[in-house]
Point group: D2
């Protein structure tokens, strides 16, 4: 496989246009049910999280927005927060409601058997749309922890009806340029059944809601063996792929750095994105990270993750699509597969280094970050206060 | 949990009304890719398979129809075959096309990159509808082995387009009282991707096709950890559950006797059926077996399987739905779960024995079959010829 | 299958002799990484947890010991705690060290690359043996959260060497009547690799350590599809099954009530226990619960769990072993399977009710607990202080 | 990461020394239980399979031996077959007994409840050692299809005893320079339980047998989520890694081309091999392919597979082990992981092309094979006769 000069320019243009959103919560402490290990220099509030997101953008050049999580990022003045982001060189991206961390939500939020709890949850979702109005966010990113731990605990069918009702209320509140991204998850924190377990459930609800409802694919939220790129191709074809929550996993929803567990899978996903037009900004596909850096330092982990998405995308862009289509048409199994493998085997780090230099960036973002002394600086500055985490 | 006299009568009435369809192919030899072990007394053609299905019905009283598989059950005169079934006390149920066992289908059938192969496959599907017209079958049971073994081998999106086109052609050929049941399968025989991998894909196609297209749930065709009863509840609620291919599995598509691997799962599925009205004949839910008896004798294995479905259904009918709903409304997790567990813990074998006696049957179908000497009889009669198997 | 009078007496004698240990931590609050839901009436220290264990024993009659977790159950005087237990009618069972909840353990405990951390972890393990000396506990129950999140993070082989060294040190400290139970776990909290991932690793270390080292099987710690009863049969045959941590799971380590997800699996495990002599107290097999009651009330959930183990054991004891062996020898697949299924289909609740009455207990422990007003009583008494949880 | 000139020479020397064994059966037709698609030019007997193996070696230079499968490769004179191999430029490698393809083996081979069947199976294993004596093969590669489809079907413990006895008999027959490689498999063709399901079972038996018994790791024979490189590291450290059956899988035992599903996993396995000394010929680790080319042409698929193993090995050899150890010691999670990722990201195809030229080979084996016209030649020659497959 070869990419001549003009190809190379096109590949770089596409990579320059791809934006990868960081999640505010990935800058705070996180952990497992067994332990949250504290790290030094962790931000203590939404403003500092945005600063960290801006740092990632400063070194990578392709992470110009940051998703927020309400109430973890609750502030008294969201317009001020948005201005702070702008001043720091980024903007506020998706708004993520949290309807799973109050005692009221023990048996669910919008699917709860208690109508008062459902109302409270819907009110919070609506409040998040209010925040979007202020921050100029396009996407309401809805993940529900709703589900059941035991068979019989509640009616699966009734919960679907409640879900439908709540989503409809929120959907109707959306502005013309706003979207609802409905995330699905196979398991956790509910163990027996989740109320939006798979893309089929999310897609079915989106179809009923309307065109502003789109499916959100979290790469860690599938049953073992699930072919994620099939889902991506299917949804793109139907115009219902809202975006990604990128991360990687070996077994469950590990939330490791994207590309860390199976870089070939990430590449295959990006191949479907490229083939299906998902890199075209008009497609509306949002590339967002959603990770937990439990034992590794957070900012470098996010820089690395942004780079991993870029490398997978670069390789996908290098696929010789003519050769691919031709081998596919001919039924040449080995030949068609080889086209993909060739692109994946290519070392795209030089190309990306070149791109970064063209963008006025250091070709090695991780090394540049290390040299910058930024980690030491925030460690010294951020003393006292409460380190941000999933609870705040 | 208790069922007073009138409840007991209602339970028995529901059990008497439930029909379980046997598959003609389960009477022939089957195996794994490693070996097909030959058994004695195995039928040698469609007529003898129907005789065996009639035997299962004679001892169980609730298996009055038999699914056929074309061309494994190809005969020159399907009207004659239907008459033979009627004479034996059963009727021909679903028609199952086979578009995976000719060399032409190496790269797929209706999704094949070669239009000539696609046309051949569609023609076979249409031929099966012709057969349905003659046999009076309601259901075209479509399982496609289409898929990919290697990434890049073919275009996932193009294959969806081809699938859509083929299904539309067949759908339009259906008569007013005929349905297309679209089965999905997670993997096998394709390993990297299947073209209808999950219920979401099947449901999406059914929605686009129209009301006569329904999803077929094979209990062995899911990723590990999949909550099948969720799918059942979802589809029933949307009026899109066409029916089941029942069997059980420990890891892959093992096609063991239904209920043999996880009887509690089968019970939970039947609970959703009962709660969602799926036992009502007007719901159109077809209860079909789809199993491979590789090492055990086939007729007794099918009798046992019919009994297993009955036992799971009986337990589901014994669920105290008032107590369940009340505990669910109250958020009583342990109480609601206990209602299900109580029903499952009940020994329903006496109830079923009673029902069978009321139906003029032996209360112990397996023992009655053994005593009947039928196995010895067919072993003696069916000498010579070619034992039926997946190839014929 | 039938059990005549003398059989019934033998079954009841075996059930009376079986002891099921409750875990102190299951009485405190627990949750997922997303949220710990607080419950009222939860114990605030080790003494109150023991009281709750004693309550479970009072209603079930077969839960006379309680496992402790250090430092969650740290007290200044363990002899006093043991006396408190005795006064309450129970005794202290296995001691569970905790080497995963301090910041030092971010990269592991006894496998940590830092020798100082390894020493600290080993010291804690040795301290737990000191506590065993005081409490008269037989079993040191070792579960290590050690592992890796990312490939390359540390040397798999070096970590095995460190593990070997630490276990040897602790093993040598054990008294003649003390044992080390080495638990394995497939994943979590480490995602890429755990240092004792499977029974093979645990067994290999136990073989090298000596006869006082035994494998501990947690029923939730396996890869999907793992046949747990095979492991049980293998270890029993080799005299290396130390005991169980019972719980149930649908997908990951859900820690639901034992028997709640797959009662047939629990039954099959108990069948191997019965067949392999594991109910004989001389076998040393410890039956311990290890669960998290995140959304359901804790004491009733533990009563239910004890009952679930009893029901599975009762069914296993009802297996007609002569008929089973005879069918197996004859190669009668359906017949042999039917012997198991018959026992499982039996409703053993009347038998257990009878046993409880003979033991001077209420035949319905859950209902008796409800009537006792105990939940309301502790809810009123346990106000103020800090509810126990995984951190304390 | 960079490799200076001397490193590069060492890497190439190691790659030149690594031998990859092809399996005779991969040249014949194979398929799934649904269909075996016939291919043209397929060998018709053991001699022609050896010719094909020699063809793979001719183009790759590192595949000098071919494993045989008895009776699929049964000939009247094995000395003659060995001479034929030698003349063709290869030698006969491991001997693979087949104790699963006769009707007698329906309920197992060496674990069968019937002693006559066990004896027959053991006799066949011994016969294979006789063949090894003649062919000069070092390894008896034992995979048993033994297992159970239904709970209760046979005694798990008794089967272990029978297994032990049979393996002991065969072990005692081995010559001083011969080994028994005991393969394990999670499932298939038995669905409920296999008699050697995991590495732990194989390892335990090997320990009891003696030093000539070693574990054989088939990369497709694990539960989902299993960390295979952990097993490799563990066994290498204990001197019990006999070798590999390489292939790849997405879900079950797909037997796809090695490296085709998850090249990063293959790399991680090879990293453990390099770190643990497994490339040193004295380690005795055998690198064997075990694949099924159901839809792709066989010889090119095997050439590609050999290349995939080489690429993974080359990348593993490029790991900067000093930097790795240093980052691991420092607890630098991201740094240590990055060392691995850097090596994996390297494009090693130029290095391998260079190596091939130094070995007098075409730098592009697949293209050279295509140009050679060999496929057309055998297609023309091999007309008539029965194409080889799993049955012959």
């Amino acid at each position: 496989m070869s990419a001549d000069h003009s190809d190379r320019a096109a590949v770089k243009a596409a990579l320059r246009a791809q934006h990868i959103e960081t999640p505010s919560w990935a800058f705070g402490n996180s952990g497992t049910r067994f332990k949250v290990f504290a790290q030094e220099g962790v931000p203590r509030n939404a403003y500092e999280k945005i600063d960290d997101a801006a740092t990632v953008h400063r070194f990578t050049g392709v992470a110009p927005s940051v998703a927020v999580h309400i109430p973890w990022d609750k502030v008294s003045d969201y317009a001020d927060l948005a201005r702070h982001a702008e001043d720091a060189g980024v903007r506020i991206g998706a708004v993520n409601p949290n309807v799973f961390q109050e005692d009221d939500y023990r048996l669910g939020s919008v699917c709860n058997p208690d109508p008062a709890v459902r109302r409270k949850a819907v009110d919070h979702l609506l409040e998040c749309v209010d925040i979007m109005d202020v921050t100029g966010s396009r996407d309401l990113s809805v993940w529900l922890a709703d589900g059941l731990n035991y068979p019989g605990q509640d009616s699966i069918a009734d919960r679907q009806a409640r879900l439908e009702e709540a989503l409809t209320t929120v959907y109707e509140r959306l502005g013309d340029d706003q979207r609802m991204l409905l995330e699905y998850k196979f398991f956790e924190p509910a163990f027996y059944a989740t109320d939006v377990p798979d893309w089929g459930t999310s897609y079915a609800h989106c179809l009923e809601l309307g065109p502003k409802a789109q499916v959100l694919v979290d790469t860690g939220h599938h049953a073992p063996g699930t072919n994620i790129e099939f889902i991506v191709a299917f949804l793109l074809r139907k115009g219902r792929l809202g975006g990604f929550h990128f991360n990687s996993r070996f077994y469950a929803d590990d939330d490791l750095m994207v590309g860390a567990a199976d870089p070939y899978q990430l590449f295959r996903i990006m191949v479907e994105i490229v083939l299906g037009g998902g890199l075209d900004p008009s497609s509306g596909v949002a590339f967002m990270l959603d990770q937990c850096h439990n034992i590794e330092p957070k900012i470098p982990a996010l820089i690395r993750s942004v780079m991993n998405v870029q490398e997978a995308t670069a390789k996908a862009l290098l696929v010789d699509t003519d050769a691919l289509a031709s081998a596919q048409r001919a039924g040449d199994v080995l030949g068609a597969n080889a086209v993909l493998v060739d692109a994946f085997s290519t070392d795209v780090r030089p190309l990306l280094a070149e791109l970064r230099e063209e963008m006025g960036l250091d070709p090695d973002p991780l090394e540049a970050y290390r040299r910058s002394g930024h980690a030491e600086k925030v460690r010294a500055e951020r003393v006292g206060g409460n380190a941000a985490g999933w609870g705040a």
